[in-house]
Amino acid sequence: MRKRQPWAKASGLETDYAMDHHPGDQTQAARKDPLRAARFEDAIVGVAALVVAAALYFATFHFRAVDWTPLGLAFWPRVILAGLVLAAIALIVLRQLDVHARFHLIRAELILFAAIVGFVLALPLFGFLATGAAYTFGTIMWLDADRRLGWVRAALLALAATALTYAVFGVGLNVRLPSGIIGDWWGL
C-alpha cells in the first residue's frame, strides 16, 4: 500500500495524486518527488505563457493602424492573448497535478531532432541528393544499432529512398528541389 503523504493531505493535493497515479506507469523522476515536479512544470508553462503573451501584446501596438475596419488589426490577437493570460494564470493557480507529465527528453530524441535540423540546414548548401542520401544513411546506421541491416544494405536503402523521393517529387511533381553547391558544379 502506498504510504500516505501528510504534507499532500494537508495541502489538499492528495486526491490529485491518487487520481493520476497508475501503478507501473511512473518514471524514476516521478517516483522521487512527483508532486513538486508536476507543480514546477505547470508553473513554468504558466509563466512562459504569461511572458509570451505580454511580449506579443506589446507587439500588437506596432501593428499598422487602419481606418477601413472599425476593430483594427490588433483586435483579434488581443482577444486571444487576453484568453491566454487568463489560462496561464489559471495554470499557475490551479496547478493541475499530473505525475505522468514529465518533461524528460530522451537522448535518442535529441539526436534525431538534431539530425533533422542538420538535414534541413544542409539542404540549400549541398543539395537534396547529397544531403538526403547522407541523412538517410546516417539515420539508418544510427537506428540500426544491432546491425541487423548492415552498412551495405543501409547504403542501398538510403540511395533507393533518396532516388525514389527525387523521382516522385523532382521529376513526377516537377518540384525544384535544392541543388546546392554540388548541383551548381554539375550545372543542375
Binding site: 491518487a18 487520481m19 501593428f63 488589426l73 489560462a87 495554470l91 538535414f119 534541413v120 538517410t136
Partner: protein, 495 residues
C-alpha cells in the same frame, strides 16, 4: 445529374482509379503500422495532390483516410497494438481470438465490418449532407462564430485529460493563425519586420511538424519491439451468409452510432468504437462472451470506427468545421486547391462532393479486396524496423513540405512545430485543439469582426436561436467536463 456523371467518369478513369488504389493501400499500410495514424497519412499525401484536379486531390486524401482507419484492425487483432487509436475496442475481442488461432477469422470479420461501416456512413453522407448544407445556408456571422466556438470548446474539453491544457493548446492554435497577412485587413501581423513571416505559418508545415516529425522523434526514443507478426497460415476468414445475417442488427446499429458520433465534433473514432462495443454487449444475449474472443465485439468496433468517416465529413463539408485533426487536414488539403468548404461548396463545386461519395465507396472496396488478398504481406508491414521507417517518413515529410512553396521557411516552420509538438506531448498537452485552433482561427475572426461590425456587440450569439443553441452546447460541454472532474475527485477521495 451531369455533375454526378462527370465525377463518376473522373473517378473511374484508369489514372485516377490507380491513384485511388495507391492512396487506399498507403492508408492501409500506414494504418497497420502502430504509431503513425491517419492524420500523418493524410498530411504526408497532401503534397502529392498539388498536380491533380481538386476533386482527384481530395479523393486521394479521402481514400487514405478510409484505408488508414480500416488498416488499424490488423495489428489490434494480431499484436494487441492498435495501428490507429480508432481500433482500440477491436483489441478487446480481436486479440483473444488471435490467441485461439482464429486471427484470420477475426480480421475477415473486421474487414467486412469496416466495409459495411464505410458504406453506411457514405449513405448517410449522401442523404444528409445536402440537407445540412441547405440548412447551413441560413447561417450568418453569429452562427459561424458559435458553431466554431463549439467545435473548439468540445475538442479542448475531450481530447486531453485536463480541460485547461486543451484550452491553452486551442488558444496557441488561434494565436498561430494570426501570424502573417490578416484576411480581413490585408496587412501583416506578428511578422517582426521579416518579409517571409508575412506568409504566416503554413498549415501543412505545421501539421507535418506536429504529427509526422514529432512522432518520428518520439518513436526514436521508444524501445524497439521484438514482437513477431504471427502470419504463418494467416488468411482472412470471411463470415458466412448466415453469420452475416445474424449480425445484421449489430452492423446497422454500430454504423448508425459511428455516423452520429462522427457528426459530433471531437468525439472521434476510438470513442465511437468503444460506445458501439458497449452497446453490442448490452444488446447481446451472450454478453459474458464479450472480451473473450467474440466476433460481434469486433464487428461493433470496426463498423463504428469506419462509420465515423462519413459522419465527420458531413459536418466538415457542409459547415467547414472539422471535428478532428484528420478532417482538419482534409479541409486544409481542400483549401490548398482553392476550394472553401461550407454550404456553398455544394453549389460551386458539386463535382468535388460527388467525387468524395464515389471515392468512399471505391476505396472501401479496394481496402476490403487488398486486405483479403494481401493480408500476409500487409500484416508484415506492421513491424517495419524503425531504422527504415523513421528516415524514410522524415525524408518524405521534409521534401513534401518543401514542395508546397519551394522555400526553406516552410521547413523551419515544420521544425518549430515538431519541437512544439514534442514538448506538448511530453507535458501531456493535446495537439488536436492546437490544429483546430489554426483552422478555425480565421473563420472565427472573420465572422466575429463582421458580426461586431454589423450588430455592434456579441448579443446575436445569444439572441439568434441557432447561435444560442451552439453557445449553450459549448457552455454545457465545459460544465460537464468540470463536473465530471469534481465527481472523479470525490470518488477517488471516497476510496
Amino acid at each position: 445529374m451531369s455533375e454526378i456523371l462527370v465525377a463518376l467518369q473522373s473517378t473511374v478513369a484508369p489514372a485516377n482509379l490507380a491513384i485511388l488504389v495507391a492512396g487506399t493501400l498507403v492508408g492501409v499500410v500506414i494504418g497497420i503500422i502502430p504509431g503513425l495514424g491517419t492524420v500523418m497519412a493524410v498530411a504526408l499525401l497532401i503534397p502529392f495532390t498539388f498536380g491533380m484536379a481538386p476533386e482527384m486531390g481530395i479523393s486521394l486524401l479521402v481514400a487514405v483516410f478510409v484505408g488508414g482507419v480500416s488498416g488499424g484492425c490488423v495489428t489490434a487483432i494480431l499484436l494487441r497494438m492498435p495501428g490507429t487509436p480508432s481500433s482500440v475496442a477491436t483489441v478487446l475481442d480481436g486479440y483473444p481470438l488471435a490467441q485461439q488461432g482464429r486471427g484470420g477469422e477475426a480480421i475477415g470479420n473486421a474487414i467486412v465490418a469496416s466495409f459495411i461501416g464505410t458504406i453506411i456512413s457514405t449513405i448517410a453522407l449522401i442523404a444528409f449532407a445536402p440537407l445540412l448544407a441547405r440548412f447551413a445556408l441560413r447561417f450568418y456571422f453569429p452562427e459561424f462564430v458559435a458553431v466554431s466556438l463549439f467545435a473548439l470548446t468540445a475538442i479542448s474539453a475531450v481530447s486531453g485529460k485536463y480541460l485547461l491544457r486543451g484550452m491553452v493548446a486551442a488558444l496557441l492554435g488561434l494565436l498561430f493563425a494570426t501570424v502573417g497577412i490578416s484576411e480581413s485587413d490585408a496587412l501583416p501581423r506578428f511578422d517582426f519586420g521579416i518579409p517571409i513571416m508575412q506568409s504566416g505559418f503554413g498549415f501543412v508545415p505545421a501539421i507535418m511538424g506536429l504529427f509526422a516529425i514529432s512522432q518520428m522523434i518520439k518513436l526514436a526514443g521508444e524501445p524497439s519491439t521484438d514482437a513477431r507478426v504471427p502470419v504463418d497460415g494467416l488468411r482472412a476468414g470471411l463470415p458466412s451468409l448466415a453469420d452475416f445475417s445474424r449480425n445484421l442488427g449489430n452492423y446497422l446499429r454500430s454504423g448508425i452510432i459511428g455516423t452520429v458520433i462522427g457528426v459530433v465534433p471531437a468525439v472521434g473514432a476510438a470513442t465511437a468504437g468503444l460506445i458501439s462495443y458497449a452497446q453490442a454487449k448490452a444488446w447481446s444475449r451472450t454478453p459474458d462472451k464479450f472480451g473473450k474472443g467474440h466476433v460481434p465485439g469486433i464487428i461493433a468496433s470496426e463498423t463504428a470506427n469506419n462509420a465515423v468517416i462519413g459522419g465527420a465529413l458531413i459536418i466538415a463539408l457542409t459547415l467547414g468545421i472539422p471535428g478532428d485533426p484528420t478532417t482538419a487536414v482534409l479541409l486544409g488539403g481542400l483549401m490548398i486547391h482553392g476550394i472553401a468548404p461550407g454550404a456553398q461548396l455544394f453549389n460551386n463545386h458539386p463535382e468535388v462532393i460527388y467525387a468524395i461519395y464515389f471515392t468512399m465507396i471505391f476505396s472501401s472496396c479496394v481496402m476490403a479486396v487488398a486486405l483479403i488478398a494481401f493480408l500476409r504481406p500487409l500484416a508484415r508491414a506492421a513491424l517495419l524496423p524503425k531504422a527504415i521507417l523513421i528516415p524514410v517518413v522524415s525524408l518524405v515529410a521534409c521534401v513534401g513540405v518543401f514542395s508546397i512553396n519551394g522555400n526553406m521557411f516552410d521547413l523551419y516552420v515544420m521544425l518549430g512545430f515538431a519541437l512544439l509538438g514534442l514538448v506538448m506531448e511530453k507535458l501531456r498537452y493535446p495537439l488536436a485543439p492546437l490544429v483546430l485552433g489554426m483552422v478555425l482561427g480565421p473563420i472565427i475572426e472573420g465572422n466575429l469582426r463582421m458580426m461586431l461590425g454589423q450588430f455592434g456587440d456579441i448579443s446575436p450569439l445569444f439572441t439568434r436561436p441557432i447561435a444560442l443553441t451552439f453557445m449553450c452546447l459549448s457552455g454545457l460541454t465545459v460544465l460537464y467536463i468540470g463536473f465530471r472532474r469534481i465527481l472523479d475527485r470525490a470518488s477517488v477521495a471516497q476510496h
